[in-house]
Symmetry: C2
Subunit: 333 residues, 2 copies
């Protein structure tokens, strides 16, 4: 593995000059630049990222933390898409992504060790639950970071989708279709997304003068099984429509509904959330709220890079719009 030094010797210039051409410093004559470039090609030289980071004081690496419980990663295409978005944006900006999946047994010491190792220039935290220890550790470490999903603390930069609005539109659609006893299966209520969607549900009903019946609200956990279970609680209260805080839970709820002998959408309309790839293939195809997951990842990177460039700026908050995708599961025939 050739070094800067060797390239310098080979092309008859100093280390500094080679460094300049590598870093595209304009203060190099065209002639010298060519000479150096040729030496680089001949020796097949590649700068050593580690040495470069040590000298420069930054690594061009950002961390992507996914502190969610292990189980969700398995079935939910949310994270792959988010990762995809983050990776794409990083590649485009010459950053690398260090993946860090928060295992439950990770305790404070390990977290700190990673955060303070100087390996990361910044961090993106995906979908933390409330009071996540990673977030507080991050906060006191002083490392720049942005969250995907609104945190409690407004001084933190984040990008999120407009969950309240998305949920409200979904429920309003149900209302417009003439449904009146609308139930909801929420996500785990220690997440901001679940809370916001529930809030949207309430707002929609209230805006039409319909009292919220707490018996029509069941808490799920974003899993298929959890959706099926929650639906069992809901069924005795005879709702005529359902707003689910995730497509995955909607899928589970549909199973329960069918098992109870009810027809969708004639006897029970359903709206999901996420517009997962399987949503159009369900029986019947699922009306749902699409959110720009991948774009969130990209915007999170953009925000973080901005934060790295201008550390003194206040926190940035970016809220992306959602889109209601209407399919057969809410078609009052």
């Amino acid at each position: 593995m050739p070094t800067l030094e060797e390239v310098a010797r080979h092309s008859g210039v100093s280390r500094s000059t080679v460094s300049r051409v590598i870093n595209n410093d304009p203060h190099v004559s065209e002639e010298t630049r060519q000479k150096v470039l040729q030496a680089i090609a001949e020796l097949d030289y590649h700068p050593n990222a580690v040495a470069r980071s040590l000298a420069a004081g930054h690594t061009q690496i950002i961390g992507l933390v996914i502190p969610t419980a292990v189980a969700m990663l398995f079935s939910d295409p949310y994270f792959p898409r988010l990762i995809q978005g983050v990776a794409a944006a990083c590649n485009a900006s010459d950053y690398s992504v260090m993946l860090w999946i928060g295992e439950p047994e990770y305790e404070r010491r390990t977290i700190h060790r990673h955060l303070n190792s100087g390996l990361l220039d910044g961090i993106i935290v995906a979908s933390a639950v409330r009071d996540d220890p990673v977030v507080s550790a991050l906060h006191q470490s002083g490392l720049p970071f942005v969250m995907v999903g609104r945190p409690e603390d407004p001084t933190i930069s984040y990008v999120d989708v407009d969950n309240v609005h998305g949920a409200r539109e979904a429920v309003l659609h149900l209302l417009r279709q003439g449904y009146r006893r609308i139930a909801t299966i929420t996500g785990p209520l220690n997440t901001a997304a679940a809370l916001d969607r529930l809030e949207g549900y309430r707002m929609a009903l209230q805006s039409r003068g319909i009292a919220v019946d707490e018996a029509l609200i069941a808490e799920g956990d974003f899993t298929e099984e959890g959706g099926a279970l929650a639906m069992q609680q809901l069924l005795p209260h005879r709702p005529d429509a359902l707003f689910c805080a995730s497509d995955t839970m909607a899928q589970g709820a549909m199973r329960t509904i069918r098992a109870a002998g009810l027809r969708i959408p004639q006897e029970m309309a359903i709206v999901g959330y996420d517009d997962m790839p399987f949503a159009p293939n369900l029986e019947p195809p699922l009306t749902t709220v699409r959110q720009p997951i991948e774009r969130m990842g990209q915007e999170a990177v953009a925000l973080l890079l901005d934060l790295l460039a201008h550390p003194d700026d206040g926190p940035h908050h970016l809220v992306l719009p959602t889109e209601l995708i209407i399919r057969a599961s809410t078609a009052r025939s």
Copy 2:
């Protein structure tokens, strides 16, 4: 951020000694060790990973390359689970994971730049297609690497599942149930997994003296849509059973089958592959071949670390067993 130097001053010993206690060198008196440990705690010192890497010549970082086309990441839980396995195993061994999602536009130069930057101690390549440029680049870079999924070149270390055997068992099950005109939807035939599963299909038929009808073989692309399309090709040839090289494609095929008015499994039995989370929830629940995806990730890390420790060992090949999960989609009633 305090440095080694400061810890040394603060505890009244030399840099070397502090370095020793950090690295658990036994040649330090208990008394000194305590003194240093205390200074470390008081200053809240954390070693700088970058400086350490530069001096030590290795980074404790491994790369996880996913060169597959973007689309698959979206719908397929395969990668999340693999990532999960890799991350877990790395954490357990004090390594970090650098994620590298191969965008199509990544050309040779970029690949080389990453491989030769010295940032990575080793690499795990997930599911490369045949003649993937990343693999050849990796080969000539001299970086230790292992693949997930059997490569053509036997000198490369890999871990894989026994795809031939898994497919054979699946088709034999169909045969045992009395089905005779068994069709198959393969994966893209430029991947080893698809080829191996097709091979298992052929072997099963031949072992029962049944001639392979090429009209009953359709190539898919591991997507739901691809499965639906492939099934349309197959239908005119009147198969009575189907072996799908992935659950996702099976899902698509079921859609086509149902649209054609055929009942599953009475008029068309189906076996999938992967045992994805949704497989038991399909209508009817899908018989499928389960493979230990997460474990593959773990074993890949184990193999790689072994390779790092013993660079001169020959290539390791590890083939994990599959398991046939029998559900209603093959229940000849």
